[in-house]
């Protein structure tokens, strides 16, 4: 008989050592594929079960947001600068890409607190909850690509063939969002302030990123901020790929993408080292 043998000790994960820790982290994710799928099915599809419009709700929120930006720009209140394509197309793309980042952040940030009951009752790798939350946002994003294609068609904007790399181009944003979310998920299980603070900051951060306006917009302050903001390269790069078939600053994008990957791994490690404390704070 090959019995499983496990040991529980204080500070187990801190004492585990670096290599062994990473091996366990990877194992936790790899071993919970079926669990992620079952949880994903539960939460993604059942979100839309008791509703007449069902999955159409995925489109409604971004469309309303985009209409408001288009309205502000048409009314002359917002001066997005010269974007080279019809403004609704521009803002829809930017908004959807930014929405992926915010969506991944806010869902992963709630991954532990939302499943508190389960965590207290059953032993399972909690990474599964994070992956499930990410998958949900990604699924909504993929569905939103349909909306984007439709709008591109309506405004007869032909995307570059390089748009096939678009999923790859948004991946770094996904990593930043998930990384931030994982850290917040642990801390906010202890004290709720942190999530509220980060969410408030991210609302402001959107205006520091060329989502609704062009990076070439006038104003020295904006230029400086955008220049220093890694998210600006990630959002802008992914959008440029579709609209213009290239990136304005590929090196800036690559540096930001590298930072995003490093940040994600770092956050995941922090999550792994500290999340066991969450069960007793729920």
């Amino acid at each position: 008989m090959n019995d499983r043998f496990v040991v529980y000790e204080p500070n187990q994960r801190v004492k585990m050592g670096f290599i062994k820790g990473w091996r366990e982290m990877a194992g936790n994710v790899a071993g919970s594929r079926e669990l992620v799928w079952q949880l994903f099915k539960r939460d993604f599809f059942s979100n839309y079960k008791q509703s007449f419009l069902g999955i159409i709700w995925i489109f409604i929120a971004p469309v309303v947001a985009i209409l408001s930006w288009v309205f502000l720009s048409a009314a002359g209140i917002l001066k997005p600068g010269d974007v080279g394509v019809p403004y609704p197309v521009y803002v829809l793309l930017g908004g959807t890409i930014w929405g992926l980042f915010i969506g991944v952040f806010s869902t992963t940030a709630r991954s532990l607190t939302d499943s508190g009951g389960m965590i207290l009752q059953i032993k399972f790798p909690h990474e599964a909850l994070v992956v499930k939350q990410m998958a949900q946002t990604v699924a909504a994003f993929v569905i939103n690509l349909v909306l984007i294609s439709a709008v591109l068609l309506v405004f007869s904007v032909a995307p570059s063939w390089k748009a096939v790399f678009f999923p790859l181009a948004v991946a770094p944003l996904l990593l930043v969002g998930a990384g931030l979310g994982m850290i917040v998920s642990v801390i906010s299980a202890v004290a709720h302030d942190f999530e509220k603070a980060v969410t408030a900051c991210l609302g402001f951060l959107m205006y520091l990123t060329p989502v609704i306006y062009s990076a070439k917009a006038e104003g020295g302050l904006i230029k400086a901020v955008v220049y220093l903001n890694p998210l600006a390269y990630l959002v802008g790069g992914a959008r440029d790929l579709i609209l213009y078939g290239g990136m304005e600053s590929p090196y800036g994008y690559m540096a930001s993408a590298g930072m995003a990957a490093a940040f994600f791994l770092f956050s995941w490690r922090l999550f792994f080292l500290s999340e066991h404390k969450v069960a007793e704070r729920l």
């Binding site: 019995d3 499983r4 043998f5 496990v6 040991v7 529980y8 000790e9 204080p10 500070n11 187990q12 994960r13 801190v14 004492k15 079926e34 669990l35 079952q38 949880l39 099915k41 539960r42 939460d43 059942s46 079960k49 008791q50 499943s115 009951g117 389960m118 965590i119 207290l120 009752q121 059953i122 032993k123 399972f124 850290i183 642990v186 801390i187 202890v190 004290a191 922090l270 080292l273 500290s274 066991h276 404390k277 069960a279 007793e280 704070r281």
Partner: protein, 403 residues
């Protein structure tokens, strides 16, 4: 490893009483963890207390142990430590074998999903692979007994069906070590009987079981060994009979039987509508002289035909200790009742020592696993001194012959 299933060495777990302090300590601990520093776990900070303190025991494969103790004694915390949900603050736990926990069933159930979908979901959360679920699916459905509701959203289930389905998933994980927390109290009573049977089956298969409950009855029946926890510490570890008795003694309340409030529970299939003591002339009485005959009449109504019910009466002294239990099983063949009726109890000589006794009347199922109706401490009964110069708990009618 060998034949040891669970080895617990000096395990402690601390918690914090106040929310604000808990937030502060939690932030510090999480911060330290993130920086790769070991949290200071061995000592208490202000406001903290030990929920589990220096607990050690070893459980061999196939052993069944009851974990008993009053509320707040650390039973559930210890169970979560064993299940790996909490990490110990001190000590070490070694577990050999697959652990299944019936801690609180139905985790992850989604009300809008069908029974079928929820089985797959819940069993996956419990650690089963898809192949295992496929293989045991029919057993799970059969045990839960949900019939044609399998493909309806569980939202439409009665609470009993919901619990049955959840419990059925949990019990089909097929673990080597089973941790059970108070689940015998879930669902309707008929189902809890089914669960007891299933647990006995596990026991027969040589699985290791830890049963946590504050109801010591099942511990005595199912477990060979018991651990008594008090204030987080092991205060007694030994054969279940002795540990349970000691626990019962420490739990009885000192208030007299006269003031005790009546408590009633049961399935209601049979209801006891009145209980009356009669004196020798057939008049209602609330006491008798020691050594004299006593008669009591229980009136009942049975909603449906019930085979083999056991009527009984319990006498407890002022400390709550059971002095005597008389029931219909002790005297005569199994009964069968339906509709209204009454049953008469005759005690030839009431030999308890003079004093006040609290009376509990009950009617149980044939295996005495659950009550149809139980009325706890419904009245008091006084035994009057007959000048027998009797000390001790009971008077034994006796003769001495000198030769």
């Amino acid at each position: 490893m060998g034949d040891t299933a669970i080895k617990v060495e000096g395990v402690s777990k601390k918690f914090c009483r106040r929310l604000r302090q808990a937030m502060y300590y939690g932030s510090v601990d999480v911060g330290r963890g993130m920086m790769g520093l070991q949290a200071d776990t061995g000592s208490l900070r202000p406001g903290e207390f030990w929920a589990v303190r220096d607990v050690s025991f070893e459980l061999k494969k196939g052993e069944t142990m009851g974990l008993i103790g009053p509320n707040g004694s650390g039973k559930s915390t210890l169970l979560r430590l064993l299940n790996g949900i909490y990490q110990p603050d001190a000590g070490r736990i070694e577990i050999t074998g697959r652990v299944g926990a019936l801690i609180a069933v139905g985790a992850g159930f989604h009300p809008l999903m069908t029974g079928r979908e929820n089985i797959y979901l819940n069993c996956t959360i419990l650690g089963m692979t898809r192949g295992e679920i496929d293989k045991r699916f029919d057993d799970i459905v059969g045990f839960a007994d949900i019939g044609e509701f399998l493909d309806s959203p569980v939202k439409t289930y009665s609470s009993g069906m919901y619990v049955r389905l959840a419990f059925s998933c949990a019990i089909h994980v097929d673990p080597d070590i089973l941790l059970i927390d108070e689940v015998l109290a879930v669902g309707d009573l008929a189902f809890s009987v089914k669960c007891v049977e299933k647990i006995k089956e596990f026991k027969g298969q040589g699985k290791t079981i830890i049963l946590v409950t504050h109801d010591p009855g099942p511990v005595k029946r199912v477990c060979g060994r018991a651990l008594l926890l008090e204030k987080g510490k092991v205060s007694l570890d030994g054969p279940s009979g002795a540990v349970v008795d000691s626990y019962m003694r420490s739990q009885t309340k000192p208030d007299g039987p006269g003031e005790s409030q009546a408590r009633r529970w049961g399935t209601g299939d049979i209801k006891i509508t009145s209980a009356t003591f009669l004196d020798e002339d057939g008049r209602p009485a609330n006491g008798a002289v020691q050594g004299s005959p006593v008669t009591a009449v229980l009136e009942f109504e049975a909603k449906k035909k019930v085979d083999g019910p056991v009527f009984g009466m319990v006498f407890r002294d002022h400390k709550g200790e059971v002095m005597s239990i008389v029931n219909t099983r002790q005297s005569g063949p199994p009964l069968s009742v339906e509709g209204d009726g009454s049953i008469r109890l005759s005690v030839d000589a009431f030999n308890l020592t003079p004093g006040m006794y609290a009376v509990t009347v009950a009617v149980y199922d044939s295996d005495r696993l659950y009550p149809f109706d139980e009325l706890r401490d419904i009245c008091s009964f006084e035994v009057k001194d007959a000048g027998l110069d009797n000390h001790g708990l009971v008077y034994l009618p006796s003769r001495w012959e000198l030769s």
